[in-house]
């Protein structure tokens, strides 16, 4: 471990961390935005879910590196390629949780809301989605953490991320760089995970207790 390497390369490390954060977090957010409407439809009209789930399972089986490669002709060796591939991945992680979360809302609760005069949209927005939030959040956390970790693989097709430190460290047989990369990927993922746990608590104050 050569500690002096770190301050000497501060700006590089910072830039790679930022790139990695962007490549890991944006796809999870896009995945969430796509999952919500699809999940709401699938929870409401049951026939819609089995075919969607089959497609999701197949997409989930597609390795992200393979998907990066398949997107190269269309988007080149760019951030877009990595972001689209990881969005597909996070969609596969988050969508089943949206459906599970909405289906787990007790029927008595939805009936009570209907009886109180809630229309379907208002019931969805103010009763069902909030109650499903913990399960949706669990999916989002997996999406963000895996996304940050997977983004480093984007380096293999030349898209800049903390993966650069792994590859450069290997080529120069310089373990310090690899350590720094590993620690930063894990730290970045844990920080984002904690932020999401905090956001989840803030969104569902009724579950926050001891």
């Amino acid at each position: 471990m050569m500690w002096s390497w770190i301050p000497g390369n501060w700006s590089l490390i910072w830039q790679l961390t930022w790139e990695n954060a962007k490549l890991g977090v944006l796809p999870a957010l896009y995945g969430l935005v796509l999952s919500l409407p699809l999940g709401i439809i699938a929870a409401r009209w049951r026939w819609f879910y089995p075919p969607v789930l089959t497609v999701i399972n197949i997409l989930y089986a597609v390795p992200s590196l393979a998907l990066f490669i398949a997107l190269i002709p269309a988007f080149g060796l760019t951030d877009t390629t990595v972001i689209i591939a990881l969005t597909v991945f996070s969609l596969c992680v988050i969508l089943p949780n949206v459906v599970a979360g909405l289906r787990a809302v007790p029927p008595a609760v939805t009936q009570a809301a209907t009886a109180m005069g809630y229309g379907p949209l208002r019931r969805l927005a103010t009763i069902e989605l909030p109650l499903a939030t913990p399960i949706i959040m669990a999916g989002l956390r997996v999406g963000v953490v895996s996304g940050i970790s997977l983004a480093s693989v984007g380096q293999l097709i030349g898209v800049s991320s903390l993966g650069y430190l792994f590859i450069d460290g290997l080529q120069r047989s310089f373990p310090t760089e690899i350590y720094v990369g590993l620690v930063l990927v894990i730290a970045l993922a844990l920080v984002c995970d904690l932020l999401l746990v905090g956001a989840g608590r803030a969104l569902t104050p009724w579950t926050a207790r001891g």
Partner: protein, 226 residues
Amino acid sequence: MSFFSYAWDWVTTSANWHGNDSIPQQLLAHIGYSVLPLLVAALIAVPAGVAIGHRGGKITIVVVNIANAWRSIPTLGLLILLAVFLGFSTLTWLLPLVVLAIPPILVNACAGVAGVDPDVRDAAKGVGMTTWQQVVQVEVPMAMPLILVGLRTAAIFVVATSTIAAYIGLGGLGRFIIDGLASEQYGPVAGGALLVVILAIIVLALFAGLSRLVVPAGLRKQAKTE
């Protein structure tokens, strides 16, 4: 030309199917790199998940959080770090893939066993089953659908990710991808990627078949009527 036409041209070129480092050889190597980590991870994570799920309570939440943090360990980084220190040893490729496979198996086994209906547990105890019998004869069979989901997810992760073993000079389908990227030939890159996808889909199909074999008939019936 699109991804598929490149991939198809390369896969159907007969020269790629013969001789050293041909498609069949790398395919076998790839399967070899995938099976062992999955077995090791299953031997660790299924019993651990079942034990934790059986105990239940707060510890299951702790496990979910640990497993989630665990997912942040980048496989590529761990692989490269081990390669620098250990060279091409078995541990170099085995450990990162085992690390990758553990969280989904652990979380699903734990959730499956923890989710067994308390009435069923009480009934098992009531008819005089020992703890061991309760776990092995009642809880594990009932948790089997979820245990299989965990194993399937892990298998898919491992098949997908053993591709990057090629980056440190090992074989497998990743060889075509890494070498193709290095020599800027898109054919083998696309072809290798396509073969990995096909292999992953075969894994998916195998698990669909496996679940028919090992999920108790009563549970399958219940799932259908739900």
